[in-house]
């Protein structure tokens, strides 16, 4: 499904990713853990296509297509989804406008008919209900006045609506209390399936107790330095990241 080969990327001229190799098969959930500054968020932005992140080497293939050649919106339409560490507040644009515009753009790209207002409302209400989000939240301006947990649930609602083939969850646990974390994790787990892969990026093992990965990788200073099964997360929780060295050593 997703194949990352020897990926190098720079931000403001500074090399952050120094040769990432990663293959994710359909239905697999991979976790990437690592210390602060290891390049975790850079990797998620590079995959999602954010401006300002320059790929200087390597390749990323998504469902056989060159992902790096696509604009951010094209990647989303192809089925790549990034759940943000800090979902953005957009005053003046309602959640429904935002999602209807997004969903219809994506459907158009996928050769599906666009939904009219009634079809859209029916769909979003059903999806929101399963995430314990009320009508009021879906009508308000995007993320404006939302609590941390509400913002993350809103991101998961977007994921449920857009039905991506590959989702990146960037530090989804940050800023969440345990109840909010469970709600978000339940939402994510309900979206797991044989055709949908996920990349869960996190600093802490905590999230992985709720979203249980198939594979765990350690990213340190721009490279994947170790890979293993879900037990690797527990080991990291116990030992910390110290053994993976410092930026100077990398």
């Amino acid at each position: 499904m997703l194949e990352i080969k020897n990926l190098h990327a720079t931000v403001d001229g500074k090399e952050i990713l120094k040769g990432i190799n990663l293959t994710i098969n359909p239905g697999e959930v991979h976790a990437i853990m690592g210390p602060n500054g290891s390049g975790k968020s850079t990797l998620s932005y590079v995959l999602a296509g954010r401006d300002g992140y320059e790929v200087t080497g390597g390749s990323v293939t998504f469902q056989g297509k060159d992902l790096l050649a696509m604009e951010a919106e094209e990647r989303a339409a192809e089925g790549v989804f990034l759940a943000f560490q800090y979902p953005v507040e957009i005053p003046g644009v309602s959640n429904t406008t935002f999602l209807k515009t997004a969903l219809n753009a994506v459907r158009k790209h996928r050769g599906l008919p666009e939904l009219d207002a009634m079809q859209f409302l029916k769909l979003i209400r059903a999806k929101a209900k399963s995430l314990n989000m009320n009508d009021d939240m879906i009508k308000r301006a995007v993320n404006v006045g939302f609590s941390g947990g509400e913002k993350k649930r809103n991101d998961i609602l977007q994921m449920a609506m857009l039905e991506p083939g590959f989702a990146i969850l960037d530090e989804t646990d940050s800023g969440l209390d345990i109840d909010a974390l469970k709600l978000v994790a339940d939402g994510v787990n309900s979206l797991r399936g044989p055709e949908r892969s996920m990349l869960v990026i996190t600093h802490y093992q905590r999230l992985l107790s709720y979203i249980v990965p198939d594979h765990v990788h350690v990213l340190a200073y721009g490279k994947i330095v170790r890979s293993g099964g879900k037990e690797l997360a527990l080991e990291l929780e116990a030992k910390g990241y110290a053994e993976f060295g410092s930026p100077e050593a990398a």
């Binding site: 003046g92 935002f98 515009t101």
Partner: protein, 464 residues
């Protein structure tokens, strides 16, 4: 001085042909306007209030009312003129500054309400027309109390004086005591000439306890390098409400200068909204005088400029009496080499205790060459007041743009959505539902032309 010498000839030629000549009141008003214009002239950047808007383009234009042959887009029936409530308004239509009865439609009016063209009123009774004109105080040249290096140099009223020299066209609305006029009143100015100059005067007199909604539309239907110099004078009587909006959407070759002066009595409300999306150079001066206690005003504006166009929104809100409130919100989008000016002054006079005055100006710059000059000013002489002002200028939020794109929304649609959301907040300031809906749809239309993307206005509604 060449322009003025020409003007003298034109004034002498034209003035004997103006309606109502010989009626003492009208002769005096016109002579006074002409004399004051000769004294003040066209404002130059040396005048403080005109520092950022240069009228050098007026040098090549005749200042006297005249027009070339109509250059219009087809027949008037095909013009599709704007309306805030199609078929449900009282409308006066002016073509190249001249009242057009055939295009106008005024339904039965309740007792106490009169809506006439100024020329019609003058033809019927010059003395009465002069009396109505005299009810409205002229805008003050000296806008503040401050004694500075150049006292009295703030605003010049030369353009208002010029308008007075050629008083003939315009509209007069009087709403009698306690009357609630349900249907909005509209005045529509259509520019069709390749070039031409007109000086219409709009007079709105709302008696105590009355309520009325008034919309001004300024559009081009084939019009070219036209110059409109519009003076709107308003009185809102005790406890009365006037909701007013001006939609300026002329061709990008037009010049548009406007002065709106409103005097608001005790417990009365005056709301005005100014949309500026047309003309190569447009300026609207709004002066609101809160004369009686507990009066309130809302002044709002939205503008969009691109290319080499220029839009200026200048306001003066004068708190004369205690317990008055004012709220001003002006937002605009500037692209290309466009330039916008915001000058907003709030004066709180010594008696105006318990004043509540707020002002906000925000500009969105879409290009590196776009420019905004913002000058908010508070001049406060009372000690128990709540006043604030804020001015920001910025670019589109990159985080928001990426967030939208990361959900599959194409970049140009994402930009259009963010611009629409930015401007739509101003439309929320408008109290009258018909004016608000029209403002929203005109804003969407302009953004559609700016970005090539149509945003569904109904979709934008955000529930708080």
């Amino acid at each position: 001085m060449a322009a003025i010498a020409t003007l003298k000839d034109l004034y002498e030629t034209l003035s004997p042909g103006l309606p109502g000549v010989g009626a003492a009141g009208l002769d005096r008003l016109r002579a006074d306007g002409y004399a004051r214009f000769l004294a003040e002239g066209v404002p130059t950047p040396k005048v403080e209030g005109w520092k950022y808007t240069n009228l050098r383009d007026l040098a090549g234009i005749s200042l006297a009312p005249a027009r070339s042959a109509a250059n219009s887009d087809g027949a008037p029936s095909a013009w599709d003129l704007p309306s805030v409530a199609p078929g449900k308004t009282h409308r006066l239509v002016f073509v190249d500054g001249v009242f057009n009865a055939a295009l106008s439609a005024v339904g039965p009016l309740p007792e106490g309400v009169a809506l006439d063209s100024l020329r019609g009123l003058i033809d019927a009774s010059p003395a009465y027309a002069a009396e109505v004109l005299d009810r409205f105080p002229a805008p003050k040249a000296d806008s503040g109390l401050r004694v500075g290096p150049n006292p009295g140099r703030g605003q010049t009223q030369g353009l208002v004086a010029l308008n007075g020299a050629f008083l003939a066209e315009g509209a007069v609305l009087t709403v009698g005591e306690g009357v609630n006029l349900a249907q909005p009143v509209e005045v529509v100015f259509v520019a069709t000439a390749a070039d031409g100059t007109w000086h219409p005067r709009l007079l709105i007199d709302v008696a105590p306890g009355a309520r009325v909604t008034v919309a001004e539309h300024h559009v081009s239907r084939g019009g070219g390098a036209t110059f409109a110099n519009i003076v709107t004078a308003i009185r809102v009587g005790e406890g009365a409400t006037l909701r007013h909006a001006k939609f300026q959407e002329e061709a990008e070759t037009a010049l548009h200068l406007a002065s709106i002066t409103a005097t608001v009595a005790a417990s009365a409300t005056y709301e005005t909204f100014v949309l500026t999306t047309g003309a190569r150079l447009a300026r609207t001066d709004v002066q609101v005088r809160l004369e009686g206690s507990n009066a309130s005003t809302r002044v709002s504006g939205a503008y969009g400029v691109d290319g080499n166009r220029h839009a200026d929104f200048t306001s003066l809100i004068d708190h004369v009496s205690p317990n008055c409130t004012s709220r001003e919100v002006v937002k605009g989008v500037i692209d290309g080499h466009g330039r916008a000016v915001f000058q907003g002054k709030i004066i709180v006079r010594p008696d105006a205790q318990k004043t509540d005055g707020h002002q906000l100006n925000r500009a969105l710059l879409l290009s590196d060459t776009a420019e905004i000059d913002a000058k908010p000013e508070l001049e406060i002489y009372a000690d128990d007041v709540k006043c604030s002002h804020g001015a920001t200028a910025g670019e589109l939020d990159e985080d928001a743009l990426f967030y939208l794109r990361a959900r599959g929304i194409p970049a140009d649609t994402a930009r259009a959505l963010l611009i629409a959301a930015f401007l739509d907040e101003v439309a929320e300031e408008i109290g009258d539902p018909a004016l608000r809906a029209h403002a929203t749809s005109r804003i969407q239309d302009r953004i559609g032309r700016l970005t090539g993307i149509t945003v569904d206005a109904a979709d934008l509604a955000v529930e708080e």
